[in-house]
């Protein structure tokens, strides 16, 4: 599952979640994340993850395709859980489930929202320079990925890769990274000149459509509030 696949899912997906405005999805995400953070109850955490999975079903997101992306944070939380939960296994589980829940929440957001819409909406609260950095980095990433793929193919074709010789592979990969760094410097210089020619004046202008909200947006916001309230109330009782 690569960036391109996530883009494909977010741009071409057709579900209630895809049709929602970014702002309502951000509220849902925020309530999910807060709920995952504030609860230490295993049953509640499991319940939240089940609801999360239901959102994946509603969003028509192929969970099998994206689940491995959630493994990275789970893996790192595992190390933390081993240290923290030496005496009590429930603490370890809570840490792991929180990481899994947060990862699934973010996956739900990025697979149902094109990155442009996401950054456009975030540009209301984030400094424009940060939004520009994200947008340009994202774009450059794809150009550089192409370059890396070509370099790696070349490396293999020219005998720079051997499945048994780790040192040789490391040396070749180090060389490849070096070429890539030089290339990215050149590229950034060229890109800057082009941006200047095209009238870049310190802000990439993108349009964000926040309003009007539709029925489906109110439903998603209501779900977010219910999830948050549902997590908080038993906790306070």
């Amino acid at each position: 599952m690569h960036l391109a696949d996530i883009d494909h899912l977010s741009v071409n997906g057709n579900s209630i979640l895809h049709r929602c405005k970014v702002i309502s999805k951000l509220i849902l995400v925020l309530s999910f994340l807060t709920s995952f953070l504030i609860t230490s109850d295993l049953t509640t955490l499991l319940g939240l993850i089940i609801i999360q999975v239901l959102f994946f079903v509603v969003g028509k997101i192929p969970i099998k395709k994206v689940i491995h992306l959630a493994i990275y944070p789970v893996f790192f939380s595992l190390l933390f859980a081993l240290i923290m939960g030496r005496n009590e296994w429930t603490i370890a589980f809570v840490i792991i489930l929180r990481a899994l829940g947060a990862a699934l929440t973010m996956l739900m957001l990025i697979t149902t929202t094109p990155y442009v819409d996401l950054f456009a909406t975030l540009s209301f609260v984030m400094p424009s320079i940060l939004v520009d950095i994200f947008l340009v980095t994202y774009r450059s990433f794809f150009i550089l990925i192409d370059k890396v793929e070509r370099l790696l193919k070349n490396m293999k074709l020219r005998g720079g890769y051997s499945s048994l010789n780790v040192f040789k592979n490391l040396k070749s990969i180090a060389g490849t990274i070096g070429v890539l760094i030089i290339h990215s410097f050149d590229m950034s210089e060229r890109m800057y000149k082009i941006y200047a020619l095209r009238g870049y004046n310190g802000k990439i202008p993108i349009e964000a459509s926040v309003f009007p909200l539709h029925k489906v947006d109110y439903m998603v916001i209501m779900m977010g509030i219910l999830i948050f309230v549902g997590t908080v109330i038993p906790w306070n009782l």
Binding site: A4, V116, R139, L197, G199, I204, P205
Partner: protein, 280 residues
């Protein structure tokens, strides 16, 4: 008529101390002309374009675009020039095709309605309306070139500068691109400056050709004039277009024929020759 561009004996030194001396003939472009710059790799074509665009400042010589120094008056010149670079991937800034075409317009502070209207007009003209809301990195090479062209045309530039615009295009896309550019030149009077290695396409897109070799502008002329000088072309590692070469050979054999600009003209000329033979 006052030339749009005047470049005289240009000298540029790159940071690695590589020197490019574009001396020899002056590079002059008149309004409404379609100019093609031909030359081998490393001959100085891109350096010349970079100076015209104001991206580089000459160490020696003069560069004038619309009577101004493009490097000093970069912001005045910029609005009048549209550019397509060889690697369009690096040129596409907008996260969606629409945003990219609208990039310069929005930066100029135009109203949303004007931006929408212009973007829709250009995208219709170039046949890219159907993917206006797509993310650029999933488009084909030809589609990306069209998006870059749409972005370059958004400000209705007087001058369109293109570095290898036909590179990596399939024959159909090349034909479409040539037709679009010719249409633009004819209807809007846009001046075109193109560098290319695709010599077969040159007769159909050029009024004037400059040959650049080893840092010198060695020849200027119409396609007929330039392609009849096979010696100069070969010296610059260039081959005349197949049709031009065929008619050169016919001339050498004693047939009195002009050099045709395109396949249709070549067909007509050959038919005329065959007709004469028929009569004889």
């Amino acid at each position: 008529m006052e030339p749009l561009i005047k470049v005289k004996c240009l000298k540029h030194i790159y940071p690695d101390k590589t020197e490019v001396n574009l001396c020899g003939l002056d590079f002059i472009v008149n309004p409404g002309e379609r100019v093609v710059i031909l030359g081998p790799n490393g001959s100085g074509k891109t350096t010349l374009l970079s100076h015209v665009l104001g991206l580089l400042s000459p160490v020696e010589g003069t560069v004038e675009v619309m009577g101004l120094s493009p490097h000093k008056d970069f912001n005045k010149i910029r609005k009048e020039i549209g550019v397509i670079f060889q690697n369009v991937d690096e040129q596409i800034i907008g996260p969606r095709v629409f945003d990219d075409i609208a990039f310069t317009l929005r930066n100029e502070g135009m109203k949303k309605e004007t931006v929408d209207c212009r973007v829709n007009h250009i995208s219709k003209r170039l046949g890219i309306s159907e993917f206006l809301y797509k993310i650029p990195h999933y488009l084909s090479g030809g589609q990306k070139k069209k998006v870059a062209l749409a972005g370059a045309l958004s400000m209705n530039p007087k001058l369109l500068v293109m570095d290898e615009p036909f590179d990596a295009l399939d024959p159909k896309s090349k034909r479409e691109m040539v037709s679009t550019l010719n249409d633009l030149n004819k209807k809007e009077g846009t001046t075109l400056i193109i560098t290319t290695h695709d010599i077969d396409i040159v007769p159909s897109i050029a009024d004037v050709i400059y040959i650049v070799n080893k840092g010198d502008i060695v020849m200027k002329g119409t396609p007929e004039e330039v392609f009849s000088r096979v010696d100069i072309l070969k010296e610059a590692n260039l081959e005349p277009p197949v049709i031009g070469e065929l008619f050169n050979r016919l001339r050498k054999r004693g047939y009195i024929v002009d050099t045709p600009k395109n396949l249709e003209e070549a067909e007509e000329l050959l038919l005329m020759l065959l007709e004469k033979q028929k009569v004889v």
